[in-house]
């Protein structure tokens, strides 16, 4: 049952990732693309957690944590760039 659920969720996330990429590619605005990237980060976290369950290991927890942290930094910096140009002013 668990493996089935894992498979299902993996497929869901794969589709989600594709959708994100699609949004990232078509835009139409940069804000859309950033949003897509941000969502991608979150999906990646989910993927890592799933992988952790699948591999029965918690080794990937830190990676997920870092994606959460750094993804946010990256998103906010990107937005700051679009808003102000200079991200560190």
């Amino acid at each position: 049952m668990l493996s089935w659920a894992l498979f299902f969720v993996t497929i869901c996330i794969c589709i989600a990732l594709f959708l994100n990429l699609w949004r990232l590619l078509v835009g139409p605005h940069v804000s859309d693309r950033i949003m897509a990237l941000d969502t991608m980060y979150i999906n990646a976290i989910a993927l890592l957690m799933l992988y952790g369950i699948y591999m029965e290991t918690s080794l990937y927890f830190e990676a997920a944590l870092l994606i959460a942290m750094l993804g946010f930094v990256s998103t906010s910096a990107l937005c700051k760039y679009l808003l102000r140009g200079d991200i560190i002013e």
Partner: protein, 932 residues
């Protein structure tokens, strides 16, 4: 100490004397300068009797034994002759030069160069080692360059010197090649061995090459056709130099070389043909050209060429007697030509001109000098009772007894006579045009007799001309004999040095030459007219033009390749990479190996597709920079996931944190770089680049596939086995980083630190204007620090620090480590910068990042150094487990301290970069203008 070594050494020391004595009077300087060479001459003369008896002195010191290069000197007959010429005439020239040079000239420098040349020349003739001969040979080129260009302010002097250096230097290179080959053929660079193995050499297949190479060396030095043209242009030198180098000594070096290697190389048709024909051509050409010179020294220079040709011709005749004649003429030519040059120098010095069209009728003003010059030029013309006559007789005689041209051999004596005619003609011209032929025209000075002692050298030399001419065997008989003996490396044939040999064909030829020469001189107007039809080709101009063309061609060529375009260089790099790597791939039969592959799954396919699309999108949209940046982030994210997927959590962490910082940096760059990228690659260029990149991509993909599908045995099991027991950590990757290969990490953080310092340097002087609007032309938002962002960021900072501490502490046993922790800390601080701005932070955060970098690297290195105190090599790790009552068991390891260094460096470096970049922009915003 060895006398033989002393001789050149004394002269070498002599180069310093003028430099030290230049502050005294010029006379004192000259005498002091002359002292050491005089002693050297004295030493040689002391040895002379034994040499004349056929003895040969040799000495040798090891210099570079592995090359066969020894410091070896010898003194045999030939050497003796040349040494006496070099030192004797050298001393006379020193005396002469003391009067010749004006007060403006730095006489110390001049004498220094002169003695240096003397040393070099002496070295050439005394060398007993092939390479050493070449060493001194080149030294003569260098010193003559300095001497010719002594009046370096004159363009002529510079050009003449450069030409001389270029030609003789080039010849020297040929000579080197020849000598090396010769030495390799013989198996030794020892001169005597080479001289003794003439048969071996002549039989060797390399003989023709050796001969040609060595002869080219000799010809260039001795101004033989077609390399003769540098000599007249070297006349820009002060006259003492001309007298010394360009008549008596340096130009004889080539002759000397031919005479020296006569036993080894001569005796074949190749030698005869090459040497004799070159000599003959030079003999005639020099004589002919001398006739038309208006410059006094030019005439003498061309006559020198002619006489050198004569000697060469003699050397090429192949008979031993011809060699004797050649050596005899060397002596004679040296005496009369040196005296002529000195006389010409006196005329130049006292009248201010060397142009024969101005110089006329000087007999009235300087009768004494005129007499000397006339005697010397008679010797040059070959008038009986003078030394020139004797050697010319021998020469004519030898031309009759040769058969180098087979049935055309009769032409040689005819040509020789013709040459004699020419030499009489130009000698006559020298005498008649200068000392008679009416009154001087527009001379800058009124000519008068030179100072007393300036004439002395001329007198001595002219006296020698006379003495040799009248008492040949008494004066030079022994010397000539021993020199010939040495040159032949065998017994000398019978010959007689008498003034009178009876009426014979040579005498007839001499007579024809004398009469014909006078006739030619009287009818010179016709010849001048004839010559005037030819365009005057100044070899100097031609040579300069050739060189300049060479330079222009070179410039064009370099400009063609190095067009300053990075793309071009990258193109070369990648093309080369393709060629090198694809070529062996052609031999690879099957790409796939035997190692079983991991089965595919949906996740991997998704990742791969995402990665591919994102990469391609980055390429396609590289001109829409912001989008490219986003797709690049996607690539980075997927790479991170790939690392995680293939069991490398540490890599995933590192890649992730690095990527974020990179993106932030790229955004900073985006801001300052032009906002638009115009489309500028031509379709052809794009196709070409696509081809290159596809090829490399293909190669890389193939190679990695081939690698991955082949089994591998590595040293890695050692690491997994020893990680816990030896390194005290369970995270093998981290233990490798801080322990097994901690040295790499030390280097790596150093790189990071250096990069930060370098970037700081870059920023320190940067003057950038900030764009006031984005790529759409929209002004920036006025909301500098969005409210929500600042509030949340503040709360996130402690959290992030905690996380980084967590990552840091667990690094040794679990994925993590100082580097990642450092990056997290940095990113957290950067987030504060993004949210609050530089000014806000500057007041609150007072960290000296430079000190952090320094201490970080220092701590890491010191940790490594700690093991020295336990007698262990650098970076030997230490760890142990401790028990504390409440806390329980915990581990302490030196690796942690090392990691702390890493952490500090990373934070320091990252922050040094970013904080300073931020400060760059706090100045007021100027309106930015896009460049045209």
């Amino acid at each position: 100490m060895n006398t033989l070594l002393c001789i050149p050494l004394l002269v070498l020391l002599g180069t310093l004397v003028p430099l030290c004595s230049t502050r005294y009077s010029r006379t004192a300087c000259a005498f002091l300068t002359a002292a050491l060479p005089a002693i050297a001459l004295f030493l040689i003369l002391q040895l002379a009797p034994s040499v004349l008896d056929g003895q040969r002195f040799q000495t040798s010191l090891a210099w570079v034994p592995s090359l066969g290069l020894n410091l070896a000197f010898r003194l045999d007959g030939l050497t003796l002759l040349f040494s006496i010429l070099i030192l004797g005439i050298g001393l006379l020239v020193i005396l002469y030069a003391r009067y010749y040079l004006s007060h403006n000239d730095n006489i110390g420098k001049f004498f220094c160069y002169l003695i240096l040349f003397m040393f070099a020349m002496l070295g050439v003739v005394m060398s007993d080692n092939l390479i050493q001969i070449w060493v001194f040979w080149e030294l003569t080129s260098i010193s003559s360059f300095l001497l010719i260009s002594f009046w370096s302010g004159k363009s002529e002097a510079r050009k003449g010197a450069r030409m001389a250096l270029t030609i003789t230097g080039a010849g020297g290179l040929f000579l080197l090649a020849g000598l090396l080959l010769l030495g390799n053929v013989v198996g030794s660079f020892d001169l005597q061995t080479v001289l003794d193995s003439g048969d071996l050499i002549r039989a060797h297949s390399a003989y023709p090459i050796i001969t040609v190479l060595i002869l080219i060396g000799a010809f260039t030095k001795s101004a033989q056709f077609p390399f003769h043209f540098w000599l007249p242009n070297a006349m820009a030198a002060p006259t003492p130099v001309s007298a010394y180098l360009h008549s008596a000594t340096m130009v004889k070096a080539g002759i000397f070389l031919m005479a020296r290697f006569y036993p080894s190389l001569a005796g074949t048709d190749l030698w005869f043909l090459l040497v004799s024909m070159t000599g003959l051509a030079t003999f005639l050409l020099g004589g002919y050209l001398a006739l038309f010179q208006h410059d006094l020294k030019g005439l003498l220079a061309n006559s020198t060429i002619s006489h050198l040709g004569l000697i060469t011709l003699l050397l090429g005749m192949g008979s031993d007697l011809a060699l004797v004649a050649a050596i005899f003429h060397i002596i004679n030519h040296a005496t009369f030509k040196a005296s002529l040059f000195m006389a010409a120098g006196i005329i130049d010095h006292e009248s201010g001109s060397r142009d024969m069209r101005q110089l006329n009728g000087l007999w009235k003003y300087m009768p004494y000098t005129a007499t000397l010059a006339m005697v010397a030029s008679s010797a040059m013309a070959g008038v009986p009772l003078l030394n020139g006559f004797l050697s010319k007789e021998m020469f004519f005689n030898e031309t009759l007894h040769q058969d180098s041209l087979g049935s055309l051999s009769w032409m040689v004596p005819v040509m020789a006579t013709l040459g004699g005619v020419l030499s009489v003609a130009y000698s006559t011209r020298f005498v008649h045009d200068v000392f008679f032929n009416g009154e001087p025209i527009n001379l800058p000075k009124t000519p008068h007799e030179p100072p007393r002692y300036m004439r002395v050298p001329v007198e001595i030399l002219v006296a020698l001309c006379l003495l040799v001419g009248i008492f040949p065997s008494w004066i030079v008989g022994d010397l000539l004999h021993s020199a010939s003996f040495a040159a032949l490396n065998a017994s000398v044939p019978e010959y007689s040095l008498a003034i009178w040999h009876g009426f014979n064909i040579p005498l007839l030829m001499s007579a024809i030459a004398l009469v014909g020469g006078l006739l030619v001189y009287y009818n010179r107007q016709h010849l001048f007219k004839f010559q005037a039809q030819f365009p005057s080709n100044d070899p100097k101009v031609l040579f300069e033009r050739a060189i300049q063309q060479l330079v222009a061609k070179a410039t064009w060529f370099i400009g063609f390749f190095e067009n300053g375009s990075l793309q071009r260089y990258m193109y070369f790099l990648f093309m080369f990479t393709i060629v090198v790597s694809a070529y062996p791939l052609l031999d690879l039969d099957t790409t796939a190996g035997r190692r079983p592959e991991i089965p595919l799954d949906a996740l991997s396919i998704t990742g791969a597709v995402l990665l591919s699309i994102a990469s391609l999108a980055t390429v396609v949209w590289h001109r829409r920079r912001m989008v490219a940046l986003l797709t690049l982030s996607v690539v980075g994210l997927i790479v991170t996931l790939a690392f995680a997927r293939f069991s490398a959590p540490d890599l995933a962490l590192t890649q992730l944190s690095v990527e974020v910082v990179t993106i932030i940096l790229l955004m900073l760059a985006l801001f300052f770089l032009p906002q638009k990228t115009p489309k500028e690659s031509s379709p052809r260029r794009v196709v070409r680049d696509l081809g290159i990149s596809a090829m490399i991509g293909g190669v890389v993909g193939t190679v990695i596939y081939a690698l991955m599908t082949r089994p591998l045995e590595t040293i890695s099991t050692f690491f997994t086995e020893n990680s816990k027991t030896g390194g005290g950590g369970t995270n093998v990757v981290n233990v490798i980083l801080v322990d097994f290969r901690g040295f790499d990490t030390l280097g790596e953080i150093t790189v990071l630190g250096i990069a930060a310092l370098g970037i700081f340097k870059l920023i320190a002087r940067m003057r950038l204007y900030m764009p006031s609007s984005n790529e759409q032309g929209r002004p920036w938002s006025t909301d500098r620090h969005p409210l929500m962002l600042s509030v949340v960021s503040q709360s996130l900072l402690p959290l992030a620090l905690l996380v980084s501490a967590y990552i840091f502490l667990r690094g040794h046993n679990m994925p993590g480590g100082g580097f990642i922790a450092g990056l997290i800390t940095s990113v957290a601080i950067i987030q504060q910068y993004v949210a609050h701005g530089v000014d806000w932070i500057k007041d609150r955060l007072k960290l000296d990042y430079q000190i952090m970098i320094g201490s970080g690297i220092g701590i890491a290195a010191l940790t490594g150094l700690g093991s020295w105190f336990f007698g262990r090599p650098f970076l030997t790790s230490w760890f142990d487990y401790f028990y504390l009552p409440v806390i329980g068991k915990f581990e302490l390891a030196s690796a942690m301290l090392f990691d702390l260094g890493v952490y500090l460096t990373v934070v320091g470096a990252t922050m040094l970069i970013l904080a300073n970049l931020g400060q760059l922009t706090t100045s007021e915003r100027a309106v930015f203008e896009e460049e045209a």
